[in-house]
């Protein structure tokens, strides 16, 4: 049986062996000409090809689309109009008053996204930090709770949105509780404040487990002897947190911040299913705006959607660079 398995394995591997043998002299020649650098390039090529096809080319196409007009989808049918789409997006009398802008929904979405990122990232970092600190302690059922907090991360965002929509709708679970407590039911998703809070809360609930895991890994990497020394010195717990835990967790926190920030700006799926951007436009976020303009409206405007996505991408790049710059500076200061 073992011999049979071995034979099957050899037969199955035969084409690969033949290809490798055929390539061998060519690769040797290539290495002789180009050295180790050439070989690195050769082995990176498949990966870079995939990256190019699925990232670089779409990115370039997106930039090109943003410079074209009309409602046709194929690039060959679209006239070049320069930066008109950007001009249309940025045309505004008062940026703080979206209704004075030509693309008022874009600026409403920008404002909503900025507010969302501020509240959601703050909440996410705080809650993830607290959860990680608790789960890092020797508590009963630690493994179970780690799994419980991570579980929502495994759910599809659409499922998350639907679950919470059912909970918060007029005849949902939340109103069952409210009415059983003797209060009038509330149409949560029709109220601007509650709907926005729900978007922030649900998004935090859905992704918190992932960030908790990163922080937990960071906490477990902090040398125990530092805590033992602090304990011997009878250092108060708050001082231990501010002077040992937080500084040593800095790189992990920076990662969490950057990732949460990027994810926050990209918020779409669960919020779209949960609130549909409403009430009014109070939870209309930038990605939904791009989706609406580029795909969902009857007369699509791919150029305008592409321009909006490029602007969003630029903001993300700037934010990421600022975050990375700050965390590098903090690391240098700690090293001194």
């Amino acid at each position: 049986m073992a011999r049979f398995g071995e034979t099957v394995g050899r037969v199955a591997a035969l084409p690969l062996v033949l290809i490798a043998r055929a390539l061998d002299p060519l690769l040797r020649l290539w290495q002789r000409w180009t050295g180790t650098g050439g070989m690195i390039a050769f082995f990176l090529l498949p990966n870079m090809a995939i990256f190019g096809v699925f990232v670089i080319i779409p990115l370039v196409l997106n930039v090109v689309y943003s410079l074209t007009g009309g409602i046709d989808i194929l690039l060959k049918d679209r006239p070049f109009i320069g930066f008109d789409q950007y001009g249309r997006l940025l045309e505004c009398q008062d940026y703080l008053q979206p209704t004075t802008c030509r693309e008022d929904q874009f600026w409403t979405a920008v404002r909503n996204t900025a507010l969302f990122v501020f509240f959601q990232v703050s909440l996410m970092v705080c809650v993830s930090m607290i959860t990680a600190l608790i789960l890092n302690r020797k508590i009963a059922g630690r493994g179970f709770f780690r799994a419980v907090f991570f579980f929502p991360v495994l759910l599809s965002p659409v499922v998350v949105g639907l679950i919470w929509r059912w909970i918060l709708q007029r005849q949902g679970l939340m109103n069952l509780i409210v009415t059983n407590l003797g209060f009038d039911p509330v149409v949560w998703l029709n109220d601007r404040f509650y709907a926005f809070s729900a978007a922030v809360g649900v998004s935090t609930w859905a992704h918190m487990g992932f960030y908790t895991l990163i922080l937990l890994a960071g906490l477990q990497a902090i040398p125990r002897d530092l805590y033992e020394a602090a304990e011997m010195d009878a250092t108060p717990a708050s001082r231990v947190f501010w002077r040992i835990t937080l500084p040593l967790l800095g790189p992990n926190l920076a990662v969490v911040l950057v990732l949460a920030l990027i994810r926050g700006v990209q918020i779409f799926d669960e919020a779209y299913v949960l609130t549909g951007g409403g009430p009014g436009t109070s939870t209309l976020f930038i990605t939904q705006y791009i989706y609406e303009v580029g795909f969902a409206s009857f007369l699509r405007n791919p150029g305008l959607a592409a321009a909006a996505s490029i602007l969003m991408g630029l903001v993300l790049v700037v934010l990421t660079l600022v975050q990375l710059g700050l965390s590098k500076r903090a690391e240098k200061e700690r090293a001194r």
Partner: protein, 424 residues
């Protein structure tokens, strides 16, 4: 050895079958369903395949969203199915195949589907691109049981929107309901009522006219009814942009006594309500100038990028035949678009629900009351631009973000932007 011989036999048979199957021409249909029409069309197509073994039909049942969002991209790239069931017929007319040279009898098509051929071909064209699988008409549904329990008379034919909302308000208050009525979140749905108040979307040059006072008269009422808690707010207020939301579930759950939607809901309501309560179709309430609903529907069209136009025409000739259209309508509870069948009458809608036949008849009767300004909209290429602007901005007014006057200006600007973008 015996086993080897058997296996070889099976392999040869499989090869022969696949070779035989390859002889048949493949015709691919992209289809979406609101109710049971997917099962009915599959059954009819099986019958066609039995009669025409040289054609192999692949029926792709997809979500409506795929028709709305993915099909246009396929069409723009010169690809797509051979036949598609579409509602956005006019705006995509450049992609439909002219079947005139291929169908068996163009005169039959003209005679029976001629009234709606303009809905699915480019302006000025005489092409035959397909046929309407169903005609729809917007209209109202009343929960008869709730009205009776409240001791409120269902408003008589010719009652105005104000009278309907007032009667529904009384039912709401009497029965402790969350709202008096709801209209689907759709620009199409409010356009019949807007026309009833004198609204006209089409300018003299065929381009969108500015939002007029007639349209504003109905939209103003709609906003006021929402502010007064008479219209169920979550349908319109709790979404942004052009997102479509139906209020059928709220009517089915007896949360509202009056629901304005359309004839395509009959099957859905009949199936889901069962004998929980009695409901009736009440047509469209009246405005200042009429009691108009808005016609529409879905069409089955041939895509011009097909490699098999003759076979596509044979499939459509079969599906558009009087016998098949009649059976399709009776089994799906859809209004037929076939002039011969409509003239002949006597459709026997197949439903055990005694509420269905009067409901369908009420829609047939209401179809005679549509106004010319409403009848022009399905064949007007800018209709969807208008609908989208209305839904987006009126929702913002309902949410307190805009005043009605601001919304009016913005609707005009949105529509103008779309016209400008399309003209680039």
């Amino acid at each position: 050895m015996k086993k080897t011989i058997w296996l070889s036999g099976i392999a040869l048979a499989a090869m022969a079958t696949s070779a035989f199957a390859q002889d048949a021409t493949e015709v691919r249909i992209m289809w979406y369903s609101d109710g049971n029409e997917g099962e009915v069309i599959a059954d009819l197509l099986n019958r066609f395949e039995e009669q025409n073994p040289d054609i192999d039909i692949i029926l792709d049942n997809v979500a409506y969203q795929v028709i709305q969002e993915q099909l246009p991209i396929q069409l723009a790239s010169g690809d797509g199915p051979d036949i598609a069931r579409v509602t956005n017929l006019k705006a995509q007319a450049e992609h439909w195949l002219d079947l005139r040279p291929y169908v068996a009898d163009p005169a039959y098509w003209e005679e029976n589907f001629g009234d709606r051929l303009d809905w699915m071909r480019e302006d000025g064209s005489d092409a035959i691109t397909g046929f309407m699988t169903q005609l729809t008409l917007t209209g109202g549904f009343a929960n008869k049981t709730l009205f009776e329990q409240a001791g409120v008379e269902i408003p008589a034919k010719g009652a105005t929107w104000d009278e309907w909302i007032e009667a529904s308000r009384q039912v709401m208050e009497s029965q402790g309901l969350p709202a008096a009525f709801a209209i689907d979140r759709s620009g199409h749905r409010v356009s019949g009522p807007a026309v009833s108040y004198g609204g006209n979307y089409i300018g003299e040059d065929g381009l969108p006219a500015p939002i007029d006072d007639g349209t504003m008269a109905f939209l103003t009422r709609l906003v006021e009814w929402t502010e007064q808690g008479l219209m169920l707010p979550e349908v319109w207020v709790s979404a942004a942009g052009t997102t479509y939301r139906a209020a059928a579930d709220d009517f089915i759950n007896a949360q509202i006594p009056f629901y304005y939607s359309g004839s395509w809901q009959v099957s859905n309501l009949s199936t889901k309500i069962g004998d929980a309560f009695d409901w009736v179709v009440v047509g469209s309430p009246c405005g200042d100038v009429g009691c108009s609903g808005l016609a529409g529907g879905a069409g089955l069209v041939a895509v011009k990028y097909t490699d098999h136009p003759e076979e596509v025409a044979r499939v459509l000739d079969f599906l558009a035949s009087e016998e098949i259209v009649r059976e399709f309508s009776e089994r799906t509870l859809f209004l037929p678009a076939h002039a011969g069948i409509v003239a002949e009458g006597g459709l026997e809608f197949q439903s055990d629900d005694p509420l269905v036949p009067p409901a369908m008849n009420a829609f047939v009767a209401a179809s005679a009351e549509t106004l010319p300004a409403a009848d022009a909209l399905p064949a007007w290429v800018w209709a969807n631009a208008y609908y989208g602007a209305i839904v987006t901005r009126v929702s913002q007014v309902m949410a307190g973000e805009l005043s009605l006057e601001q919304a009016r200006e913005m609707m005009d600007a949105d529509i103008a932007d779309q016209v400008e973008a399309a003209g680039q």
